[in-house]
C-alpha cells in the first residue's frame, strides 16, 4: 500500500496531477449547479413579490 502511494519515487508529480484533475472536475460541476440554484431562488423570490 505504502509502495503504491510512493509511486516509485514520483509521488510528488503523480499525485498533484490527480489532485488537480479532481479539483478541476469538481469545480466545473459544482459552480454551474450553484449558479443554477441561484437563478431558481431568484425566480421564486420574484414570483412571491408578484403575488403580493
Amino acid at each position: 500500500m505504502a509502495e503504491f502511494f510512493q509511486m516509485g519515487g514520483y509521488a510528488a508529480f503523480v499525485w498533484p496531477s490527480y489532485a488537480l484533475c479532481a479539483l478541476v472536475l469538481w469545480l466545473n460541476w459544482y459552480l454551474p449547479r450553484k449558479q443554477h440554484e441561484k437563478e431558481l431562488r431568484l425566480l421564486r423570490r420574484r414570483r412571491k413579490a408578484e403575488k403580493r
Binding site: G8, F13, V14, P16, S17, C21, N28, W29, E39
Partner: protein, 241 residues
C-alpha cells in the same frame, strides 16, 4: 431530422432534456472513471523507461484531447451562430469555454509535472507546449470578450468569430510533434498505426478519455441550464417553471 434539430434548439425543450439526461451522464461518467482509474493506477504495469511517473498519462492525454475537442465544438457552434443565429448554439459555445479552458489548464499543468522528472524542466518553449498555451489564451479570450459585451446576442456573434479564427490553432497543436522537432513525445495513440504501448496501458487511457467525454456533456448541461435561465429570465417558459 430537421424537426428534431429545431425542437432541440428551443431553450425550454433543451432545458428539460438536459435535466433528464444529467443523472444518466453522471452514472456513466462515474463508472468509466472508476474503471479507468483502476486500470491506470492499479492494473497497468510500470513503464520500463519512465517508471511510475508515466501514470500521469491517464489524466494528461484525456485532458489534452478534450482541450482540442471542446474547442472544435465551440468553432462548430460559431458556424451555427453566424449562419443561423441559433440561440442554443450561443449558450453551448459560451458554456463550453470555461470547461475547455479547464481541460487546457489541466493538460498544461499535468504535462509540466510530468516534464520535470522526465525532461528535467517544467517548461520549454517548444511547439507543442507553446501552441497548447495559445489555446488556453484563446479560451480566456472567448470568456473575456463575452464578458466585455453587454448585449449577449452581439457578444455571441463576436465570440463566434473569435472561436472560428482560433480553430486554425487546432491542427497546429495536433501536428506540432511531427512538423517541428519537439521535446514532447509523439502521439501515444493514433487511429492508423499500431499503438506504441500494450493494451493494459492504452485501454485505461481510452476509458479515461471516454469518461472525460461524458464529463464534458455533464458539465456542459449543468452550465447550459444555468446560462439558459439567466438569459431567458423574463420569458414565458421560465415563468412557468
Amino acid at each position: 431530422m430537421f424537426l428534431w434539430f429545431h425542437k432541440l434548439g428551443s431553450p425550454p425543450h433543451f432545458y428539460r432534456i438536459a435535466g433528464k439526461w444529467i443523472p444518466w451522464l453522471s452514472g456513466i461518467f462515474l463508472a468509466l472513471l472508476v474503471a479507468g482509474l483502476y486500470g491506470g493506477l492499479i492494473l497497468a504495469p510500470t513503464d520500463y523507461q519512465q517508471g511510475e511517473s508515466y501514470r500521469i498519462i491517464f489524466v494528461h492525454v484525456p485532458a489534452a484531447w478534450m482541450s482540442l475537442f471542446v474547442y472544435v465544438v465551440m468553432a462548430f457552434c460559431g458556424v451555427v451562430i453566424i449562419v443561423w443565429r441559433m440561440k442554443l448554439a450561443e449558450v453551448v459555445l459560451i458554456s463550453s469555454a470555461p470547461i475547455g479552458a479547464s481541460f487546457t489548464f489541466l493538460a498544461l499543468v499535468t504535462g509540466s509535472l510530468w516534464g520535470k522528472p522526465m525532461w528535467g524542466t517544467y517548461w520549454v518553449w517548444d511547439a507543442r507546449l507553446t501552441s497548447e498555451l495559445i489555446l488556453l489564451f484563446l479560451y480566456l479570450g472567448v470568456i473575456g470578450l463575452h464578458n466585455a459585451i453587454e448585449d449577449k446576442r452581439v457578444a455571441a456573434r463576436a465570440v463566434a468569430i473569435l472561436a472560428l479564427v482560433g480553430v486554425v490553432n487546432i491542427p497546429i497543436i495536433h501536428y506540432s510533434v511531427e512538423w517541428w522537432h519537439s521535446l514532447h513525445q509523439g502521439a501515444s495513440l493514433s487511429k492508423f498505426d499500431k499503438p506504441s504501448m500494450p493494451p493494459s496501458m492504452y485501454v485505461p487511457i481510452l476509458l479515461m478519455a471516454l469518461a472525460f467525454q461524458f464529463y464534458y456533456a455533464l458539465a456542459l448541461f449543468h452550465k447550459c441550464r444555468a446560462e439558459l435561465l439567466r438569459r431567458e429570465r423574463n420569458s414565458k417558459w421560465v415563468e412557468e417553471l
